[in-house]
């Protein structure tokens, strides 16, 4: 592999896109999660919860636009393949994001007796968007399969990702609030953590077993030894966080930010695992990041040499 621009540029773009997705998942994760937790909170708590994310959600969502934008700019071919394959879940995601985005503003501005309706839509929209993202992740790791098992697996991951967003939301509330709501958030976090763990285990197992190529990458010597810290550290982080929830809230609100940071670290570790598994493919086992570049019509497998000069 020579290090010239046509080789490097896709790598840089892939890195940036991965970073944008990770930042999006962590940041929008907590405000989507708070939307999900709306289902189990009273009117006063809802106002506090909204206040905790008010200034942030717009900027958080921008990372999604950036990630999709990078996919579009850097890998137009993959953009088309992935998004047409995920047509319906993308649609659910978008409707969910629309509903929650407008509900966020409408709930504060409609006449008081209609506020409940928009609270419900905020919750439903957040849930739908989270489920859709999870479903897409599930189907993606199975290589954009469309059979019944893939759908079933997609649904499982959908539930787990929604739960992990709820965990993020709860962790954010622990950081941002106090008193009853904070104690409640600790309980939310503990329950949601279980599903988060199930989801991560499921994705971690499904990824290598769905693709012999990825299996190779993990379960051969010496890779297996070099990669062992990844699952071990993740597991330790889970365990530590789980134990911490029994001692929260701590006196003087110490460690209030710790659950959120730990969860962010867990997300990053899981993401690193996925990135390692799929590299260099942007569409699993079909298109590498170099093949998915804008290119002349001819051979899909040829090197990306064409597109170098004009930027």
């Amino acid at each position: 592999m020579t290090l010239d621009w046509p080789t490097l540029l896709p790598l840089i773009f892939a890195g940036l896109m991965g970073l944008a997705i990770l930042v999006y998942v962590v940041l929008d994760g907590f405000d989507l999660g708070i939307g999900i937790l709306f289902a189990a909170s009273d009117a006063h708590e809802k106002d506090t919860m909204i206040a905790a994310i008010g200034p942030f959600w717009d900027a958080n969502e921008t990372w999604l636009v950036l990630a999709v934008g990078l996919l579009l700019v850097a890998f137009p071919v993959a953009h088309g393949v992935i998004l047409t394959a995920l047509y319906i879940p993308v649609f659910v995601l978008l409707v969910g994001l629309i509903l929650r985005g407008v509900a966020f503003d409408f709930r504060a501005k409609v006449p008081v007796h209609r506020k409940k309706r928009w609270d419900a839509l905020f919750c439903i929209g957040s849930l739908a968007a989270s489920l859709a993202q999870g479903y897409m992740l599930g189907v993606y790791v199975l290589g954009l399969e469309t059979g019944l098992p893939a759908i079933g697996f997609g649904l499982l991951v959908a539930l787990c990702l929604a739960a992990s967003y709820a965990a993020m939301g709860a962790a954010w509330l622990i950081y941002k609030t106090e008193g009853d709501l904070q104690r409640k958030a600790v309980r939310f976090l503990r329950s949601a953590l279980v599903f988060t763990a199930v989801g991560m285990v499921a994705v971690s197992l499904a990824t290598p077993f769905a693709s012999p190529r990825i299996f190779e990458k993990w379960f051969t010597w010496p890779e297996i030894a070099l990669l062992a810290p990844l699952p071990i550290v993740t597991g330790a982080a889970f365990l530590g966080l789980w134990l911490l929830t029994f001692r929260m809230p701590a006196p003087g609100d110490r460690h209030a930010i710790t659950p959120f940071l730990t969860l962010a670290a867990i997300f990053a570790l899981g993401f690193a695992g996925l990135a390692y598994s799929f590299y260099p493919y942007v569409v699993p086992d079909r298109l590498t990041i170099w093949e998915a570049r804008p290119r002349p019509k001819a051979s899909p497998s040829s090197s990306p040499a064409r597109r170098s000069c004009c930027r």
Partner: protein, 453 residues
């Protein structure tokens, strides 16, 4: 119906819904900055009340713009993968610049603008207001650069069926871009001028005589009166630019079936594409020749030169007439009202009754104008480079139809709620007047500069 027409309808529905909100936020950002600067200069709390009322409208419009904009960025991939495959080298970077330079600027400083008054210093809050306005305008710059490039592509070369950039300066400042950008920014200004004046007129009719209502009303009326003649002039120049670069679009706008001199200006007609003639035509002799060529016998291109290559005539013809008609109504109303406000210092009830329903006239004109120019580009997606039918994706028509139906229902509901909330906010403000206490944070803050009064 097949996936092509359904995808087109879906994209049209999404982008029509989306454009309404940027049209408001682009210019409303600057109006808010104006309110804020007047407050800074005078210390008059009525300016700040006007700010707080309109910043709510801004937040609402911004949220709707963001969520419908996210939808658009996905739809390139879900419905039109051929677009990015063929011209992605040019469209991609322009969209990326939009996201990077503008969207982040808006999204980050919007938080300070909405939540930061008196939590940050007044100067920082003013700066945030400026940066949000600047960011929305920068967004418009990049998006219109892309759209104009699709209308009048320049600065690229085709290699193996894919467009490659050659000269970025020529790509961004392509022939129709300066005209389209100014035309759209003015359209945004007019939309906001009539929205501000229209909602203020509604408050006036509800019995509100508060100082903040008057300030917003005057701002809206005078702004509209000042911008509309500029817009008519710029629109004319934009039309001449289109005549030069996309003559088939102008031929459709004028429903002119035959290239010749002494072409009449058709005021009303039913263009019949089968017979290739106008029915029920009412026309001013030599009018089109005079407007487009500035002489009575000037040659105006006709649709006969572009058989099979020109856009559908009726929607372009009507879109253009609706836009111009609304523009003329704007001119009449804003000048009449300005005269009364300026010379008599009063708002006649009759004019208020006319203004309130004109609150959203800018939307009508903007949409009609965009339909004219976008349908007028057909059958091309990128003029001379990519036909619309070549770009559509391999998604089943049933999927596209199903999602289209839900989008349309969703957008209709959201539109009703949006209009309802704006009316509710206006009537609530009218009822409370300027006597009601401002919310806690704001009240404490406003007490400082008002101490000297």
């Amino acid at each position: 119906m097949d996936a092509l027409i359904l995808s087109r309808l879906q994209f049209a529905a999404n982008i029509s819904f989306h454009i309404l909100f940027p049209t408001i936020t682009i210019a409303l950002g600057w109006v808010l900055l104006f309110f804020k600067l007047r407050y800074n200069a005078t210390g008059d709390s009525a300016w700040m009340r006007a700010y707080f009322f309109w910043v709510k409208v801004f937040a609402l419009s911004f949220a709707l713009g963001v969520v419908s904009g996210v939808t658009m960025s996905f739809q390139f991939g879900t419905n039109w993968p051929g677009f990015m495959e063929k011209v992605g080298n040019i469209a991609g970077p322009l969209l990326a610049y939009e996201v990077l330079t503008a969207f982040f600027l808006e999204a980050v400083f919007l938080g300070i603008m909405l939540f930061g008054f008196r939590r940050v210093s007044n100067r920082v809050h003013t700066l945030a207001t400026f940066l949000v306005a600047f960011g929305t305008t920068l967004s418009a710059f990049w998006i219109l650069a892309l759209n104009s490039w699709m209308q009048t592509p320049a600065g690229f070369e085709m290699r193996d069926g894919v467009a490659f950039p050659v000269d970025w300066w020529a790509i961004v400042f392509n022939p129709s871009f300066p005209y389209r950008l100014v035309h759209m920014l003015l359209a945004s200004g007019l939309t906001v001028a009539f929205l501000v004046a229209g909602l203020s007129a509604l408050r006036f009719l509800a019995g509100d005589r508060a100082e903040s209502m008057w300030k917003a009303l005057r701002t809206g009326v005078f702004m509209g009166a000042a911008l509309i003649p500029v817009q008519i002039f710029v629109g004319d120049m934009h039309g001449l630019n289109t005549l030069e670069h996309q003559p088939q679009k102008v031929a459709a706008m004028e429903a002119n079936w035959e290239t010749r001199g002494n072409v009449p200006l058709v005021l009303f007609a039913w263009p019949d594409e089968k017979a290739r003639e106008n029915r029920f035509e009412i026309a001013v002799p030599n009018g089109a020749s005079l407007i487009l060529r500035h002489s009575l016998d000037g040659i105006v291109p006709g649709l006969n030169d572009y058989v099979g290559e020109h856009p559908p005539v009726a929607p372009v013809f009507w879109g253009f007439r609706i836009m111009v008609g609304v523009g003329l109504a704007m001119l009449a109303l804003s000048w009449a009202t300005s005269w009364f406000l300026w010379r008599r210092g009063a708002m006649p009830k009759l004019l208020a009754y006319a203004y309130a329903p004109m609150a959203f006239s800018g939307w009508v004109a903007t949409l009609a104008g965009w339909y004219t120019t976008e349908i007028g580009r057909q059958p091309w997606l990128v003029t001379g480079v990519l036909r619309t039918e070549e770009a559509v994706g391999p998604v089943a028509a049933s999927n596209v139809g199903f999602t289209l139906a839900i989008y349309v229902v969703l957008y209709i509901v959201l539109m009703i709620v949006y209009l309802g909330v704006l009316t509710h906010l206006a009537l609530k403000a009218a009822k409370d007047g300027d006597q009601s206490p401002m919310p806690g944070v704001e009240d404490r803050a406003l007490a400082q500069p008002m101490a000297g009064e």
